[in-house]
Structure formats: C-alpha cells, structure tokens
C-alpha cells in the first residue's frame, strides 16, 4: 500500500474515472451521461499524463540545443493524450447530435422513458 500517497495524483484520476463511469452508467439524463463520459476520458488522460511527468524536468521542447534525457520529461504520454483528446471530442459531438435527434422525436432525454414508449408503440 506504500505508494498510494506518493501516487496521489493517480488516485485522484482513478476517483474521477469512477465518478465519470458512474455518471455514464447511472444517470438517466443523456446530457449528464455525456458529461460523465467526458470526465471519464479526462481522468484517463490525467492518469496517463502523470506517467510522463518527472519532477524537476522541463517541457519537452528543445531549448538552447540541450538534448539530454535529464532535461526533459517523457514526451510519449503527452502525444498519446493529444490523440486521445481528439477522439473524445469527436465522440462527444456524435453523442450530442444523437441526443438532439432523440429529443426531436420523443421529447425526452430519459432512455427508460423512451424504451417504454417504444414498447407501448409496439413497433
């Protein structure tokens, strides 16, 4: 259990992940679900970015021609997170447009209500 306090940032990321996950799973309202999704993704990126962080080292942009490992943090996680952010923004745009369409048709955002409606329509 020794590293839990040293890894407090990662612990925070995990808590955020679970909060977002629970929002996505439990909330009835679609908008809240989407916010939960975004929080969940941000949490994963936070977790990943801390993997690259090394205390006392600088931004991975070559300054003054110094090219030693001791000068910069690990650039890989930053690159991965950059890719990930794009993915999550595309996914949330898609989810939001689905929300609009769903609302236009059923005038509600509650998935349970919609599925009951569908059952009653008997399509």
């Amino acid at each position: 259990m020794g590293n839990l306090f040293a890894n407090y940032g990662e612990a925070v990321a995990m808590i955020l992940f679970v909060i977002g996950f629970a929002n996505l799973l439990l909330h009835k309202n679609l908008i809240k679900k989407i916010i939960g999704l975004n929080i969940m993704d941000s949490a994963i990126y936070l977790f990943l970015a801390q993997k690259g962080y090394i205390a006392g080292r600088g931004v991975p942009i070559v300054t003054d021609g110094v090219q030693s490992v001791e000068a910069y943090i690990n650039p890989i996680p930053s690159g991965l997170v950059l890719t990930g952010i794009v993915v999550s923004v595309s996914v949330s745009a898609l989810m939001l447009s689905l929300t609009i369409r769903l609302y236009r048709r059923y005038h509600t955002l509650d998935l349970d209500e919609i599925s009951t409606l569908l059952k009653k329509e008997g399509v």
């Binding site: 259990m1 020794g2 590293n3 839990l4 040293a6 890894n7 940032g9 990662e10 612990a11 995990m14 808590i15 679970v18 996950f21 629970a22 799973l25 439990l26 801390q50 993997k51 690259g52 962080y53 090394i54 205390a55 080292r57 931004v59 991975p60 942009i61 070559v62 090219q67 030693s68 490992v69 000068a71 910069y72 690990n74 650039p75 890989i76 996680p77 930053s78 690159g79 991965l80 950059l82 890719t83 952010i85 794009v86 993915v87 595309s90 745009a93 898609l94 939001l96 447009s97 689905l98 609009i100 369409r101 236009r104 059923y106 005038h107 509600t108 349970d112 209500e113 009951t116 409606l117």
Partner: protein, 322 residues
C-alpha cells in the same frame, strides 16, 4: 461680437458635444451600442403546448406504476448492480494505484530507451524542435492519421444525423429545427468586439499551426482555435454573412484536399520507410519555420481539417445545413 458663434454653430462644435456628454444631458451611445431589444421570436404557443403535452404523455405512460412493475424491479436491480460495480471498481483501481511505480521519479519503466531516443535524437531525425510534435507526426504518425480519420468519421455521422434536406415540405418542422430565426440581431457590443477579436483569434490559430514544430501546439490545437474564431464570427454576424464565407463546397474541398494530402504524404513516408528507401525530404535547419520536412505540411493539413470539422459541427448543431 463677431467672435461669438451663433447657437446653431456652437451646437455643431465638438466642445459643445463634449460638455453636453459630461453633463449627462445626452449620451452619445444611447441607441448605438446597447443591444436593441430583439424582435421577440415567438415560439408559437401551440408548439410549446404540444411539446409540453407530449412530454407529459410520455411521463404518464412511463410512470404508470401499476403496469410497470417489471420495469420498476429491473430498474432497481440495475441501479443496485451498477452501484456495486462502481464501488468495486473504485476499490480495485485505488488498490492498483498503490502498487504502481511512484509518480514523478525518473527510474520507472516508462522512462526507457524509447523516450530517451525521442529526446536525444528527435531533433536530428525529425527536424522538429517540439519533441511531442515530432513524436506524434513522425515516429508514431500512423496513430495520428487514425485520429484524423476519427474526426472524419465523426463528421460523417453528425452529417447523417443532422443534415437536413434543402427542400422540406413540412414548413413548420423546418422552422423549429432551424434556429437562425432565434439569433441575436445587430448586437453592437458583440459585433464590435468580434470585429477586433476574430482576426486576432484566427491569426493566433494560424500562428499555432505554423509553429507547431517549434512551440507548444500544432495542427489540432491551432485548428480548434481557428474553428472557435469562425464560430464567434458566425454568432456575431449571423448566418447570412457566415454563409457567404463558408459553404458546403468549401468544406468538402478543404477537407478532401487536406485529408488527401495527408494520406498521400504519409503513404509515401511509410512506403519509403518500410522499404528502406531514401525519402528525399529535406529537414531544413531546426528552429526555422520552414523546417522539419513533412511535419510542417501535415500540421497545416490537420489544422485545416480540424478547423472545418469544428465549424461544421457547430453549424450542423445550430441549423442543419451549411
């Protein structure tokens, strides 16, 4: 008495206006700057009623407890299971974090020969001063190509969902979905600040894109900034002006051109790399704007795609066509 001006003449001078303004007798900005009261856009009473009634009808049906016992039961089980799952997940994940290597220290598995090479010879091999950009656009370019395809796929799905037909027989539906009727008209503060801000924002976006290999940022962030600038322009000046600037054809041309360039450039680079051929792309002097070979071109392509995509998302959400 010839020095004295007549009252009419005096009223035309600047000092008169200044003193009058100072006295507060007349505020020159009255009626010029403040938001004019919008012509109230009436959602027809009937539609509001219909909407409310529809949602009420839905609720009546759904919360009909007697007929919905099974649903109720299912719902309770689902919520209980979900809560148990989440709590379990939290405990497991926190326990796992306790066993992970400590953050912020240098001797962790992540800091191995891979990142060392990116840092130590990234500048020579890719020509990019910003190591992150060099990594995502050269060492691991396939990911980034996939990422721009994610954006492309997302735009396609958003177009499927929200793009309306040009001609709609049912006029009422059209009005409801299209909120160009609701947009603010002639808001002087918004327009004035937009006139100043939009060029600056777009210039900043272009700067971020062009300096992607030298400073923080790159195609994606710069493109998002340009997209935000375009959205501000749209919100300030209304759809009619924005439509002159940005059409469906422009969107298609730009995204097609950018993605094709991206695809061809990367294919060339992958092909030569895998077959151990010389790529013949000069890397230039590190630190100059025109350096780092393909990365510069790719950043511009990504920037254009992202700017178009972001603007398209917003326009589709607001009114459903370009």
């Amino acid at each position: 008495m010839s020095k004295l001006k007549s009252r009419e003449e005096y009223e035309k001078t600047g000092s008169f206006r200044f003193w009058r303004w100072l006295d507060g007798r007349r505020d020159p900005y009255v009626g010029q700057v403040e938001m004019k009261p919008q012509t109230p856009v009436e959602t027809p009473e009937l539609t509001i009623r219909e909407r409310l009634r529809d949602s009420q009808a839905v609720r009546d049906k759904v919360y009909d407890i007697e007929n919905n016992k099974s649903l109720n039961f299912f719902h309770r089980v689902y919520v209980l299971a979900a809560i148990v799952y989440c709590v379990g997940l939290a405990v497991i994940l926190l326990a796992m974090v306790a066993y992970l290597p400590p953050t912020g220290e240098a001797d962790r598995p992540v800091n191995n020969e891979v990142s060392a090479r990116y840092i130590e010879s990234g500048l020579q091999e890719t020509g990019a001063v910003n190591i992150v950009t060099g990594m995502i656009l050269d060492y691991r370019a396939f990911d980034t190509f996939g990422e721009s395809n994610v954006l492309f796929a997302a735009t396609t799905t958003v177009l499927i969902l929200l793009h309306r037909k040009k001609k709609n027989q049912d006029g009422r539906v059209e009005e409801l979905e299209n909120d160009r009727l609701l947009e603010p008209k002639r808001d002087a503060i918004l327009q004035g600040s937009a006139t100043v801000l939009v060029p600056i924002i777009i210039l900043f976006g272009i700067y971020v894109i062009l300096n992607g290999h030298l400073s923080p940022g790159g195609g994606f962030s710069g493109g998002a900034v340009i997209g935000a600038g375009l959205i501000l322009y749209l919100s300030a000046f209304g759809f009619e002006r924005a439509e002159k600037l940005f059409t469906e054809k422009l969107y298609k041309t730009v995204s097609f051109a950018a993605l094709t360039t991206y695809c061809l450039a990367k294919s060339y680079s992958f092909f030569t790399g895998a077959n151990h051929l010389e790529s013949h792309i000069p890397l230039g002097t590190p630190g100059a704007i025109l350096s780092s070979g393909l990365i510069f071109v790719l950043n511009i392509c990504v920037g254009m795609v992202v700017a178009c995509t972001m603007y398209t998302f917003y326009v589709m959400f607001r009114k459903g066509d370009f």
